[in-house]
C-alpha cells in the first residue's frame, strides 16, 4: 500500500518552505509585539536594511557567501547519510591553511596565490574532516559526536597557534599578521570601479563568485558523476550500496573530505577577502547555520543559494534592526533567526500532511473521474 503521496516539486520546494517561513515571521511578529514594537515597522526596517540600498546588498551577499559554502558542505555529507556538524572546525582549520599560504608564500603573484589558497584551504579542511570520516567509516564512531569534538579541538588548537605561533611580535592581539595587499581577494566594488562602474563599498568580494562556481560544481558532482551517484546510494541505502559493489566506507571518507573542503572555503571570504588576517573565532557560527541553510534548501545547490540569501538578509537586516530600534537588541535578532531556523529546518515537515491532504482533495476533484 502506498501510504505516502508524492507531492509535485513546486509544492515540495516552493510552497512548503514559504509557508514555514511565513509562520516563522508571524511568530517573530508576536515576539516583537510582546516587547511593544510594531511588527510591520520591524519588517520594513529588516527588508530595507537588507536590500534597500547598494551597500546593504553588498553586506547581504557577503553573508550569503559564507552560508553558501557551509550549506553546500553540509549538503554533500548529507547526501552520503552523514550529519556533518563540524563545519565550524573545518572552516577554522581551513583558515589556517589560507593564512599560512598567504603569509609564507607571499612572493607568489595573485592569480597563482588564489589557486594556492584554494588548494591550501581544501587540504586543511579536508584533512580535518578526514579523521572523523575515517573513524566513522572504519571504526563506526558516530560522525556527529566526533565532528562536535573536533570543533572543540580546532578551537583550542587555533587559540594556541594564534597566541603562541602566529601572533606577530609586539602585538597584544591573538591574531595573525596582515596579508600582503596584492594577495587579498579584490572587493566587488573595486572590481566594478576598475570597469568604470561606481558601487557602494562593502565587504563583498571575489569569493562570492567562487561560491556560485562551487554551487554548480557540487550540482554536477552529486547528480552527474558516478562518484556522486555512489555517494547518494550509500546515503540512501548502504546495504544496496554494498550489494552494488560500492564500498560505503570509501565514499563516506570522500563525502566528508569534500564537505570539509567546502566549509574551509568560507575562510577565503573571511580571511583572504575581508579581514585580511586570521582572527580568533572568525567562523562565528556560520558553520552551524549552514545546517539550517542546507536543510531549508533541500540539500540542493539552488535551494541552498536561496536559503543562504534569506539568512544573509536576516543577518544584514537584523544588524540594521538592532541599530535602528534600540529595544530590539542583537539578542532579539538572534531570536528571530532562531525562529526561522526552527520553523524551516527542525519543523519543516509540520505542514506536509495538511498540505498533502489539500493537494489530494484538489487533485481528486480535477482528476477524480479517471482515478476512480
Amino acid at each position: 500500500m502506498n501510504d505516502t503521496v508524492q507531492l509535485p516539486r513546486w509544492i515540495d520546494v516552493g510552497v512548503l518552505p514559504v509557508i514555514n517561513l511565513l509562520l516563522a515571521l508571524a511568530v517573530s511578529g508576536l515576539v516583537v509585539l510582546a516587547i511593544g514594537e510594531s511588527p510591520s515597522e520591524v519588517v520594513e526596517i529588516l527588508l530595507y536594511g537588507a536590500f534597500g540600498y547598494e551597500e546593504a546588498w553588498g553586506y547581504t551577499l557577503y553573508y550569503t557567501t559564507n552560508f553558501i559554502f557551509t550549506g553546500l558542505a553540509f549538503a554533500v555529507a548529507f547526501h552520503c547519510g552523514l550529519f556533518n556538524i563540524g563545519a565550524e572546525g573545518q572552516a577554522y582549520v581551513g583558515g589556517l591553511g589560507v593564512i599560512l599560504a598567504a603569509l609564507y608564500l607571499d612572493f607568489l603573484p595573485f592569480p597563482i596565490m588564489m589557486i594556492v589558497a584554494i588548494l591550501a584551504a581544501t587540504a586543511f579542511g579536508a584533512a580535518w574532516a578526514y579523521i572523523p570520516a575515517y573513524l566513522q567509516a572504519r571504526r563506526g564512531s558516530h560522525v556527529v559526536i566526533t565532528t562536535i569534538m573536533f570543533n572543540f579541538i580546532a578551537s583550542s588548537l587555533m587559540v594556541y597557534l594564534l597566541v603562541n605561533v602566529l601572533r606577530p611580535q609586539g602585538s597584544m592581539n591573538p591574531e595573525s599578521k596582515q596579508i600582503a595587499e596584492h594577495l587579498r581577494l579584490p572587493f566587488i566594488h573595486d572590481m566594478a570601479a576598475s570597469l568604470g562602474i561606481e558601487i557602494a563599498r562593502s565587504p563583498l568580494n571575489l569569493s562570492f563568485v567562487y561560491a556560485l562556481i562551487c554551487s554548480v560544481l557540487v550540482w554536477l558532482f552529486i547528480w552527474h558523476t558516478r562518484w556522486g551517484y555512489a555517494i547518494r546510494t550509500v546515503g540512501a541505502n548502504a546495504v544496496a550500496a554494498t550489494y552494488a559493489g560500492i564500498e560505503p566506507g570509501r565514499y563516506i571518507i570522500m563525502a566528508m573530505m569534500i564537505s570539509g573542503a567546502l566549509s574551509s572555503f568560507m575562510a577565503l571570504n573571511e580571511v583572504m577577502g575581508v579581514q585580511h588576517r586570521l582572527l580568533i573565532d572568525f567562523t562565528a557560527g556560520y558553520g552551524f547555520v549552514g545546517i539550517a541553510v542546507a536543510l531549508m534548501g533541500r540539500n540542493h545547490p539552488f535551494g541552498i543559494f536561496l536559503s543562504a540569501l534569506l539568512f544573509g538578509m536576516l543577518y544584514q537586516g537584523g544588524a540594521e534592526l538592532s541599530f535602528e530600534i534600540p529595544t530590539i537588541s542583537n539578542d532579539m535578532v538572534v531570536v528571530i533567526q532562531g525562529l526561522v531556523i526552527l520553523f524551516t529546518g527542525a519543523m519543516e515537515h509540520m505542514f506536509r500532511p495538511r498540505v498533502t491532504k489539500i493537494y489530494m482533495a484538489w487533485h481528486l476533484r480535477r482528476h477524480g473521474q479517471e482515478a476512480a
Binding site: 501510504d3 558523476t225 552494488a244 559493489g245 560500492i246
Partner: protein, 532 residues
Amino acid sequence: MSDTIHQMHGAGETGAVQPAIELRGIDKRFGAVHANKSIDLRVEKGTIHGIVGENGAGKSTLMSILYGFYQADGGTIHVDGKLCVIKGSEDAIALGIGMVHQHFMLVETFTVLENVILGVEGGAVLRAGVDRAREELKRLEREYALDVNPDAIVGELSVGAQQRVEILKALYRGAEILILDEPTGVLTPQEADHLFRILETLKEQGKTVVLITHKLREIMAATDNVSVMRQGEMVAHRKTAETSPEEISELMVGRKVLLHIEKGEAAPAAIVLEVDNLCVDTLQGVRKVKNASFTVRAGEIVGIAGVSGNGQSELLEALGGIRPVTEGQVLFNGQDVTPGHGVDAAELRHRGVAHVPEDRHRMAMVTGFSAKEAAILGYEDDPAYQKGIFLNWHAIADATEHMMSEFDVRPNDPNLKAANFSGGNQQKLVLAREMMRDPELLLVGQPTRGVDIGAIEFIHKRIVAMRDAGKAVLLVSVELDEIMSLADRILVMCNGSIIGEVAAADANERVLGLMMAGVAPNEAKSAEGHHV
C-alpha cells in the same frame, strides 16, 4: 425509538445465529490508492474462513481495519450482530478479536509466560498475575494442544512454537475470533500441518478463525469458506468444498494462469560455479552456513530450498560478494573468487556474475531513486554510461527504456521514482538490469516474492530462457512450488547445512518438507515410503 432498538435486539437474540463478523460496504483510500472498495464480508461463527488475493489486493488493509489499525472511510462493522466502532486494537481485543501478525510481536528475551501477560499483568506487583496466568495457560494449552512450555525463553523456540505463543497470547486475552495473517510463510510444511490441526481444534471449541493467505493449497486444506479479493474488491465468496484451486486462482487474477511452467530437459555442460566447504559467520560469530559444497553447471538451474532463515540468505550473499566468507573456497570458471580476498560484488559483476538479491527494497534498489538511477545500480561505472567524467543520462535513460520494454515494466517511464512502481514491476526492472548483461552465472533469490501472479509467470519464463541459453542459474526460494517447477536439481538447506540433493524429477513436497525439517534424504524417502 427505544422500542425499535429493543425489538432489533430481540430479533438478534432469538433469530438465526448471528455471524461472528459482518462487514458492510467497507471503503478505504490511501491518497489516490483505493485499497478497499465497498467490501462486504460475512464470517460465520465457529468456522475457518479464508481470505485470498494477490499481494496488494487489500486483504491486509481490510483486516487492519477490523483490528483497529486503520479507520474505514465508510461502511459498518458488526461483531456478533452488534454494530461496533473499532478505534484501536484495545477495542478489538475487548470485542474478542485477536490477531496473529505475519511478523511476530514478541520479546525474544522474555519467557513464554512473560510474553503472554505483557500488557495484561493485572497490577503493579507481578507475582499474583503470574500465578493466575500460569494456571490459565496450562488450561489453554491442554484444551488446544498448543504444546508450549510456559517457562521457555521465546528467542530459543522454533518459529512454529513462537507462532503458537502468539496464538496463546490472543486466547489469553479472551479472543473468540482469531485473525491469522499469512501464518505459514515462515513454517515448514510439517509445522504448517501442526498449525492447521490447532486451528481445527479452535474451531471445535467454537472459536472463529480468519485465515489470510495467498497459498491456494492451504485454503483448500484448512478452510470452510473462502472469500477472494482482487484489486481492492471482494470478487467472490465460496464454500471451500464447492470450489477448486483453479477456480480460485482464476478469480484472484481475473484470468486463467499457468501454474506450471513449460520447460524442456536441461542440458548441463561445464561447471561454472564450484563451492567447496564454504562456511559463513555473522559479525557476531554465529555460523550461518556450515561446510556447504556444491556445483552449478552451465545450462542448469540449481534450486536451494529451505525454510527461511536456515542459511540460504547468507549463502547467496556470500556468493554475491557481499558477505565475507569464513572458510572454504568459491571457484567461478575455475578461478578463485572467494569473497574477501580482493573480490567484492563489483569484481564479481565484472567477471559475469549477476545477482538478484532476496530483498528487493533493502538491497536490490534504492527506492528513492528514479527508475533510470535504479537501472544502473552496480553498473554505474560501465563505460557506456559515461561521458568524460560525467554520467551520460541520455544513454542511461535509453538503456533503461530498453530494459523496460524488454521486461515489460509498466509504466515505461525511466524518470518515475522506483518506489512508485508495483512490486512486480520493480522486480522485473531488477531482473532486467541483471539478466540483460548476459551474465554467465545468475544468482537469484526469491525472484517472485511480493509479485503478482501474472508477473510470476513472466519471471519464471525468463529464468528458464536463461538456462536454455546455456547459463548457470542458482535459485534460492522458500516457495516449494517455485523450486519444484523451475529447478533441475534441488539442494535442501537446514540449519546452515546442505542436507541433501534431490533431482527435480524425484522431488515432491513431502520429501522436501522432511528434508527442510532436518531429516536426511534417505530417511526422508523411507519415511515417505511408510506413509504410502
